[in-house]
């Protein structure tokens, strides 16, 4: 279980004044939990993810994974970035196997496990392509396979589908649910799409900016429904989905309005 306990982050602004980016955020991601963070830009959701990944130290509070404090980046927390960060001099399969190489896994086993992961994301035919020969959606699938390779306890995903067109995006969401259902990983997923958030999460947290904090939490079941019935349209057109969508939208915009009226 990943536990965020009263995490606060202050950055130094250009003029040296502190900027309050994250305000006493507490959050538990249970085993098989799929937590989605939703919020407008500047609400601290990426800050929270960077702290979970170990890229950013906290000003106060703590983050623990299965009882061990998070102090630095590590292979037990896989990260999928918004912009793909594949290495252009390595083939697709070498990119996927990178974490295994870092862990000292032998060449043959690396290849075998990377091939398995490529099958999981449906890219087995592109193992020896160069990353720049792939489309954006395919590159993100490689990114997911790569993050899964060292068998992390949790996947941290920072708006991974933000740069994709809406049709590719829906395919990727369904693929991610498959991956989640099959691997049983904990996932922390950032998005600014309300529909994506509702569709993917077992838990939704809504964040608001200045200072970044959690303003609402929902427990969701749509993702389990989809994993069971595989009917995305039925879920997204169901009345319960629409009600929650409007509610979440109201929460997001309410805090946006409050903040902008303060200025």
């Amino acid at each position: 279980m990943l536990r965020v306990d009263n995490a606060s982050v202050y950055f130094a602004a250009r003029d040296g004044k502190p900027v309050h980016a994250l305000d006493r955020v507490s959050l538990d991601i249970p085993e098989r939990g799929f937590v989605v963070a939703l919020g407008t830009s500047g609400c601290g959701k990426s800050t929270l993810l960077n702290a979970m990944a170990g890229f950013l130290p906290l000003s106060s509070g703590s983050i623990t994974l299965n009882g061990h404090e998070v102090t630095a980046p590590g292979a037990e927390r896989g990260v999928v970035f918004q912009k793909d960060t594949l290495l252009p001099w390595k083939s697709v399969i070498e990119n996927v196997a990178l974490g295994l190489k870092f862990a000292g896994v032998g060449r043959k086993e690396r290849r075998a496990r990377a091939e398995e992961l490529l099958r999981l994301v449906g890219l087995q035919d592109f193992a020896d392509s160069a990353p720049y020969e792939l489309s954006g959606g395919m590159r993100q699938r490689v990114g997911i396979a790569r993050a899964l390779a060292p068998d992390p306890a949790i996947l941290l995903m920072d708006e991974p589908f933000g740069a994709l067109d809406s049709m590719t995006r829906e395919q990727m969401q369904e693929l991610l649910v498959d991956v989640w259902a099959r691997t049983g990983k904990q996932i922390f997923f950032i998005t600014h799409s309300i529909e994506e958030a509702l569709f993917l999460g077992t838990q939704l947290i809504v964040m608001s900016p200045r200072p970044g904090r959690i303003v609402a939490r929902y427990d969701l079941d749509f993702v389990n429904q989809f994993a069971r019935d595989r009917d995305a349209r039925a879920i997204k057109t169901a009345p319960a989905f629409a009600v929650l969508r409007e509610e979440a939208r109201a929460v997001v915009h309410q805090f946006e309005a409050v903040r902008s009226s303060e200025v």
Partner: protein, 283 residues
């Protein structure tokens, strides 16, 4: 209902082949410029031939192309200034290659470290920034006083001249590594050494190769200048002694050989870049 519009006629092959189009290009575009360059070269040769056969310049100053060709043949067969042509060329090539090995062997690692460590950057920045803008010929006398007129002074001079572009480009290469790429590697469990070997060095490689190309250019100009002043072998020396006897045709031959060598080097470097950094500009 929506109408599905499928034009069946479009599936039938038409008689005339279709007119192929592409996006309008800005600037040079993709079409080869070799033809134009060859035509320009021929034009220059023609102008040269014309100028010498019309005696526009005194014969002593501007030999005709055929005379230069004859001189090239004689230099090739009999050598010039107490050495065969191959001895001159190999002396120059050996100097530049040894110096290049030293400059790359020191410059690339030092540049990489300069990009990675504040201390290394602080330490190496001052001496490099101080000597790099100096023309190498300005400190050649010092090299000769310190290291004698043998090979050591020339190779040191060349290595110094070639070191800075390699080191500076390696440093720039490290800076071009994005924080995201580093974070990605760290979150995959990379150690510092693995990060350096698998991410930082390959990321910096295209810039290092560009630096090597610049260094070789600098190397050739410095080499010939150094040989003009203090040498008994080398293409620069050959040109110098020819000019003392007003053998303009041999001077032309020497210049032609330097141009050919430099061209071959840059051709080789391009092949190296294609082989080792084919992803350059792709992502």
């Amino acid at each position: 209902m929506t109408d599905l519009v499928v034009d069946l006629a479009a599936d039938c092959p038409s008689a005339a082949p279709p007119k192929l189009v592409g996006m309008r290009e800005f600037g040079v575009g993709k079409r080869s410029t070799v033809g134009i360059s060859v035509a320009t070269a021929l034009l220059i040769l023609g102008a040269w031939q014309g100028a010498s056969s019309l005696h526009l310049a005194p014969h002593l100053f501007l030999p005709s192309p055929s005379e230069v060709y004859a001189a090239a043949q004689s230099v090739f067969e009999d050598g010039y200034a107490n050495a065969t042509l191959w001895e001159h060329v190999s002396a120059s090539l050996a100097r530049i290659l040894i110096a290049a090995v030293i400059a790359i062997g020191l410059g690339a690692p030092i540049g990489l470290v300069m990009g990675l460590s504040r201390w290394a950057k602080g330490i190496f920045d001052a001496p490099i920034e101080f000597y790099w803008p100096l023309p190498p010929l300005a400190y050649l006398p010092l090299m000769i006083i310190w290291l004698g007129i043998g090979e050591a002074s020339k190779i040191t001079l060349l290595a110094l001249a070639m070191f800075a572009p390699v080191a500076l480009s390696a440093q720039a290469g490290v800076r071009s590594v994005t924080q995201e790429r580093v974070n990605a590697a760290l979150s995959l469990g990379a150690t510092r050494l693995q990060l350096l070997r698998e991410v930082v060095f390959p990321s910096a490689l295209p810039e290092i190769l560009t630096g090597v190309r610049i260094a070789l250019g600098v190397g050739w100009s410095t080499l010939v200048a150094a040989e003009l002043i203090a040498a008994t072998r080398g293409i620069g020396y050959m040109i110098m002694s020819a000019s003392q006897f007003l053998a303009t045709d041999v001077v032309f031959v020497g210049i032609g050989i330097i141009a050919a060598c430099a061209f071959a080097f840059s051709f080789l470097m391009r092949a190296v870049e294609r082989r080792f950094a084919p992803w350059k500009g792709q992502s």
